[in-house]
């Protein structure tokens, strides 16, 4: 598979995609070792995803030895929140992308391979979902089902599956016309076998890779919903919610306008870097896969 070697070498040679890989590895590391990096206090053992709070005062407290990133509105510890928030981010991202990819492959390959009425029905259904601006539809679904982390996952799945189904359908349509599919059909292979053994692998690797890199975008949408107050319950370790806590503390008291900078800046930076990591990698892949900008 010289192609994969070539791809890997391109990714490591390009400083931007290398940076992306490094950022993602760091976040994976944080997510895995969250209990060691930010140990859960004894009193909290039952529910480690709820951020421990140090009192109930509204006003954020600056970084100190106890709270190295300070505390945000309601004395929630920012450091604990962003570290455990990494786990929440991965959970939302991985679950949504996982479900979406499975639905996409199923419906996309059905539509692409069988064509005709099957294709027509599936595509008209995707049309309906794609007729909504995604975040607005997600917002409506969350509001209707009642805000929680699970409804956010459901909503994001509902709004994102159609585009993947379409992409995979397009891939299949393209490959279906190619000679080797004809050839294997000529040799008597059944339709299902042809799909599974030949069409699918060849057609959808690039799409799958691009989809997996959309984790960044999914996490960004989830954070936006949380920020709007349509996400996890209050106190849950979640970057979007931590950012929304800072809304009332953008401006400090007279004479010290940037007093609460830590509450505003830190959770947002985590989201930014997380999304950036995936996008850097995605951008490099897009260049590699773009046949119009073929390698020279």
């Amino acid at each position: 598979m010289t192609d994969w070697k070539f791809t890997a070498r391109q990714l490591v040679r390009n400083p931007l995609s290398l940076l992306g890989i490094i950022i993602i590895v760091i976040f994976v590391f944080i997510a895995i070792f969250a209990p060691l990096i930010a140990p859960t206090p004894e009193s909290h053992q039952q529910r480690p995803y709820m951020i421990p709070r140090d009192g109930y005062r509204a006003q954020p407290e600056p970084p100190s030895e106890d709270h190295i990133f300070g505390t945000t509105q309601g004395q929630y510890d920012i450091f604990y929140g962003v570290i455990w928030g990494t786990r929440s981010a991965f959970r939302v991202g991985l679950v949504v992308i996982g479900i979406v990819v499975v639905i996409g492959i199923l419906l996309g390959s059905l539509a692409g391979y069988f064509g005709g009425i099957v294709d027509e029905i599936i595509m008209r259904i995707t049309d309906v979902f794609l007729a909504f601006p995604a975040l607005i539809l997600a917002m409506a679904i969350v509001a209707a089902l009642g805000p929680s982390l699970n409804t956010v996952i459901i909503a994001l799945t509902v709004v994102s599956w159609p585009s993947y189904a379409r992409l995979i359908r397009g891939d299949i349509l393209q490959v279906r016309e190619e000679d080797y599919i004809e050839a294997s059909r000529g040799l008597g292979a059944s339709s299902a076998r042809v799909i599974l053994r030949h069409a699918l692998p060849n057609a959808i690797y690039p799409t799958l890779i691009m989809a997996s890199l959309d984790i960044g975008a999914v996490v960004l949408s989830a954070a936006a919903l949380s920020f709007l107050g349509l996400g996890a319950p209050e106190g849950y370790a979640d970057w979007g919610q931590l950012t929304s806590f800072a809304r009332n503390w953008i401006v400090g008291p007279p004479g010290d306008p940037l007093k609460y900078w830590y509450a505003v800046t830190i959770p947002g930076l985590f989201i930014l870097f997380f999304v950036l990591g995936w996008n850097l990698l995605g951008d490099a892949f897009r260049d590699i896969f773009d046949p119009r900008l073929a390698r020279r």
Partner: protein, 348 residues
């Protein structure tokens, strides 16, 4: 004539999509029990006391198809339900809040298009040189920025640190009073345009001051999006044979890039401008929420966090219809820009 029949055909094709959209929206409301749905219609205590009457009146215990028919009829007559957050019908709320959002769009859209196209062209013309790498990194960064966080950061710096230089809201309090008082006529409810029509400098400047940050927040992601697309589209176009022809004619590189390459590169950008509308619609909710800019996005947010389902669904339906129409306009525009396209037949 050809164009008109094309548009009519496209409009007919919209019917199944819009039926699906309404079915989906209605399906969501049907997840609730008749009593819960009756609550959506309740406007005062008297109705609250007699829920069965409400259920009876709106036929909420009828079979699905009947209810869908009734509901669709209401939607067609402009009755999208009642918005509790602002105590008025949803359709009135949309009309009331739309001008503010339009104002944002009026400023953001040209900015996005011009800046995105300009940066994308520049990056492509300088492929693999520092300028290209710079704009590219900026685009990825802009693409990754959480809109809501960007808004907060901008507020922290330009409102907090610079002592109220660029404030949130639509107008300052005194100006707001001025605008709603006698001599000032509100033609459009779009502050900047009304200020121009009233020849009122201070109002115009104040409105502009409040617009800067929301417009920037709304634009960043989209500029990055258009820029990236424009860059790859330009690179493709610059590799074509007619570019070599243009150079062989003796044309300056500036003309080759800005005339021969760009006109062709714009075609794919136009086809995705529908997505920009969707991104704007999404962004409007977040931006208006952060900046307390009372447009339909802000209203939708208020409705959502107060679980005012009929408003949120009405808002979603409104956006879907708008989005579908925008895509229609984009398709028509596309046939105008690319001479190779015969209406409804795609590129030959």
């Amino acid at each position: 004539m050809e164009l008109r029949s094309y548009i009519i055909r496209r409009l007919l094709l919209l019917i199944p999509v819009l039926l699906g959209v309404t079915l989906f929206i209605f399906g969501i409301t049907m997840m609730f029990s008749p009593t819960q749905r009756a609550m959506l219609y309740v406007r005062d205590a008297k109705q609250l006391a007699d829920l069965p009457a409400v259920i009876e009146r709106y036929g909420l215990d009828q079979p699905f198809v009947v209810q869908y028919g009734t509901w669709l009829g209401q939607v067609f007559t402009g009755n999208l339900g009642y918005s509790k957050v602002v105590s008025q019908p949803v359709s009135d709320a949309i009309i009331q809040f739309l001008p503010a959002t339009l104002e944002l769009a009026i400023f953001a859209t040209p900015l996005i298009i011009l800046l995105g196209i300009l940066l994308g062209t520049t990056a492509a013309a300088h492929k693999d040189r520092p300028l290209d790498h710079g704009t590219r990194v900026a685009a990825i960064l802009g693409w990754s920025l959480p809109t809501f966080w960007l808004g907060l950061m901008l507020l922290m710096i330009f409102y907090g640190f610079l002592r109220g230089f660029l404030p949130p809201g639509r107008l300052s309090v005194q100006i707001d009073l001025l605008v709603n008082a006698a001599p000032f006529i509100r033609y459009t409810h779009i502050n900047t345009i009304d200020a121009i029509l009233n020849l009122d400098g201070p109002v115009f400047l104040d409105a502009l001051r409040h617009l800067v940050l929301p417009v920037v927040t709304l634009s960043v992601v989209n500029v990055a999006f258009i820029m990236r697309l424009m860059r790859s589209s330009m690179l493709e176009s610059l590799g074509k044979g007619y570019i070599l022809t243009a150079r062989a004619k003796g044309l300056a590189e500036r003309v080759v890039v800005n005339k021969h390459a760009r006109r062709n590169a714009l075609i794919p950008v136009i086809t995705v401008s529908g997505y920009v509308f969707a991104a704007l619609a999404n962004g409007v909710v977040i931006t208006e929420t952060i900046f307390n800019f009372k447009g339909i996005g802000w209203w939708a947010w208020q409705s959502a966090i107060n679980l005012d389902i009929s408003s949120v669904l009405g808002f979603a339906l409104f956006n879907a219809v708008l989005f579908v129409l925008v895509n229609l306009v984009v398709d028509v525009l596309y046939t105008r820009v690319d001479p190779r396209v015969r209406l409804g037949q795609g590129v030959q």
